[in-house]
């Protein structure tokens, strides 16, 4: 009797495993459109204009990327409307980068970010960026080759610069972290269309979820020193020439020349750490202590080897 029951159990379990495996919605790769990049713009009142770049796997064609634009009120509403325009089911599991236009970012983007957070198919390491001008133009009017995948291109553009320590990492996780944390606000890179190429033009500074200011890339160094820490970055620094007058050897160059009022110096292998201390709680005064180690790579003037202090 007992053995009979046991056998029934085994049969029941294996039946479960075999037959129920097909009960779910299937997702064959050939029938999916994998969204790699998404752009959001503000259009009219209450409307957002969404653009998606997606890739489909067609056995006959190679690397097909397509773009769709649609207007809706919410980002998931956009997805539905976008699906009406394509033969492939759009899925967001491979999304690498989202772009919000500057105008939208000035109004606040946390609702749009929140839906990304709640969607379990979207990864945490997605890059969040801002576009100078319209995100649609950025995604559709560039002349980055049709064969290559635009989403992957943009992803690598950011990734390469984050790894080279030129940018503060703008992943979704870091956005959330800075947004929800006390005393911290997000910083995102700004992309710009320049003669058909997409370049990183500046860095957007946020107050909560609103874009309030921009920082040119040459100033980013100072922000990164304060927010993040360098491990092996490099940077060009302008210095006041007057202070180095005694050090500069005029005749050491290839040719004799009067030096300019500025000396430019590029340093690399930067290793930095910082400490911020509150001096006055009421007036909010802070003491910032930055430790910076690096080596000089290039200089516009020759100097002697005497040790000196660069910054006061």
């Amino acid at each position: 009797m007992r053995k009979w029951v046991k056998n029934i159990t085994i049969v029941f379990v294996s039946m479960n495993l075999i037959f129920l495996a097909g009960c779910l919605q299937q997702r064959p790769l050939e029938k999916l459109g994998l969204i790699t990049a998404a752009g959001f713009d503000l259009s009219k009142k209450n409307n957002i204009l969404g653009t998606v770049v997606y890739q489909q796997f067609d056995p006959l064609q190679k690397n097909v990327t397509k773009k769709i634009m649609e207007q809706a009120k919410t980002s998931k509403g956009l997805r539905q409307d976008e699906n009406l325009q394509t033969s492939h089911k759009l899925v967001s599991g491979q999304m690498r980068i989202v772009i919000y236009s500057k105008k939208l970012a000035q109004r606040g983007i946390i609702q749009l970010i929140d839906t990304l957070n709640r969607d379990p198919t979207i990864g945490n390491m997605l890059y969040v960026t801002i576009s100078d001008g319209k995100a649609v133009d950025l995604l559709t009017k560039n002349n980055i080759g049709k064969g290559s995948n635009l989403g992957t291109f943009l992803y690598n553009l950011i990734k390469q610069n984050v790894e080279g320590e030129q940018l503060i990492s703008p992943t979704l996780h870091e956005f959330n972290h800075s947004f929800y944390d006390v005393g911290k606000d997000p910083v995102l890179p700004v992309l710009k269309l320049r003669h058909g190429d997409i370049v990183i033009s500046s860095v957007a500074l946020f107050k909560n979820d609103r874009l309030v200011d921009e920082l040119k890339p040459d100033k980013l160094f100072f922000l990164k020193v304060l927010v993040d820490s360098y491990k092996a970055g490099s940077q060009e620094i302008p210095l006041n020439a007057k202070e180095f007058k005694p050090l500069i050897i005029k005749t050491a160059g290839h040719r004799e020349r009067e030096f300019h009022d500025r000396i430019y110096m590029t340093i690399d292998n930067i290793n930095s750490s910082h400490k911020i201390k509150v001096l006055d709680k009421d007036k909010l005064r802070f003491r910032v202590q930055v430790k910076l180690k690096s080596r000089i790579l290039e200089m516009t003037e020759h100097t002697g080897n005497r040790p000196c202090r660069l910054w006061q």
């Binding site: 046991k6 159990t9 379990v13 779910l24 957070n117 959330n176 947004f179």
Partner: protein, 373 residues
């Protein structure tokens, strides 16, 4: 019914396996949400609550052991009957059975919800719970040695998941832990209380105890298992607190699974799907052990075959899934079970112990009186 169980020699298992049984039954579906639950109570000092809860559990384990040592080889069902008489003892036994079965049900329900939220949003609850429950039935039908062996295998197979926690550390901010200990004792205490749902599982020692071979060593290994659980829970809570910003930790229902989102392997981009699937291996021994312990009550209290008890409990638990639909209902059930766990697993053995001691003394005195008279 007899108070003591005398299992056959072949059914006994090694004392060191108790370590795995205790650790594995403690670690389960509760861990996935634990950091948020304690953060809601004790903010950034939540990890202290978890640590103290672990210490408290260690003490309770010791009390349990003292309690069990008063008898040769009894389980809780037998002890209750011995202490409170046949009728009342059986009633208490039934209460404990209901508690164990509802923990079984709750673990299953919570895991199904995790799977539905993360991977298969369109999978009906009854399908998944049917598969999981039949697996648990299959394993627990084979008896205690299988239950214990399964805990061991599950530990070996899932223990590497701990190492994955290293990669979120890169994105963490240790300053979240400061200022240290400023949330107040009251909040930390309520954090301890809230941890109880995650940390229960050690009370199963009361049921597996008769089957341990060298009973004297059992305490040591049980404490080791509990120590590992405590360290693991505390580390996970600390990592979650420094990884997430406070507000976002409050909004993340399963922070431990969200932690895995950051992990990225070269040809496996979304590690959390693997983690959620592997979570089944973590919760299955929980289910199996609870089911076994609950159904044991049928044999011990009513002389019904254990296999019948297993089918009854599993059937009821499976049917229970049809009644609970919304998230708030699940939260309610989980909260109730957490409270029940706090009283039945943590407080109850501590109350039971002095009663046992007094009863023993009374009995001794009576015996002496009889001898004298």
């Amino acid at each position: 019914m007899k108070v003591n169980i005398q299992p056959k020699e072949g059914l006994l298992f090694n004392a060191f396996l108790v370590m795995f049984v205790i650790h594995v039954t403690q670690t389960g579906v509760g861990l996935a949400g634990l950091p948020r639950i304690v953060y809601l109570e004790a903010e950034h000092d939540g990890w202290i609550s978890v640590l103290l809860a672990g210490v408290l559990t260690g003490i309770i384990l010791w009390v349990m052991f003292l309690l069990l040592r008063e008898y040769d080889s009894a389980d809780l069902y037998g002890i209750q009957v011995d202490l409170f008489g046949k009728l009342f003892g059986r009633m208490l036994g039934v209460i404990y059975m209901v508690y164990l079965s509802s923990v079984f049900f709750d673990i299953c329900m919570n895991y199904v919800e995790i799977v539905q939220a993360w991977i298969f949003s369109d999978m009906p609850t009854w399908v998944l719970s049917g598969v999981i429950i039949s697996l648990a039935v299959y394993a627990s039908l084979s008896g205690i040695r299988m239950v214990v062996g399964f805990s061991f295998i599950s530990f070996i197979m899932t223990f590497w998941l701990v190492l994955v926690i290293i990669s979120p550390l890169k994105y963490s901010d240790p300053t979240h832990l400061f200022p240290f200990m400023n949330t107040g004792i009251k909040n930390i205490a309520s954090g301890i209380y809230k941890t109880s749902f995650s940390i229960i599982g050690f009370e199963l020692l009361l049921f597996v105890y008769p089957y341990i071979q060298e009973k004297k060593k059992a305490l040591l290994y049980a404490e080791l298992g509990n120590l590992y659980t405590t360290i693991l829970f505390t580390v996970v809570t600390v990592v979650c607190i420094i990884f997430f910003a406070g507000e976002s930790l409050k909004r993340t229902i399963w922070p431990v699974l969200s932690l895995f989102k950051i992990v990225r392997l070269p040809n496996l981009e979304r590690f959390e799907f693997i983690a959620v699937s592997f979570w089944l291996l973590i919760i299955l021994p929980n289910l199996v052990t609870y089911l076994w312990a609950a159904s044991k009550g049928f044999t011990r209290l009513f002389n019904i075959k254990q296999s019948k008890g297993i089918y009854i409990i599993a059937g009821v638990a499976w049917l229970g899934n049809f009644f609970i639909k919304a998230r708030y209902q699940m939260n309610l059930v989980t909260d109730y079970i957490g409270v029940a766990g706090f009283f039945l697993a943590i407080c109850y053995p501590a109350i039971l112990f002095p009663i046992v001691v007094i009863k023993k003394k009374l009995r001794k005195r009576r015996q002496q009186d009889e001898e004298m008279g």
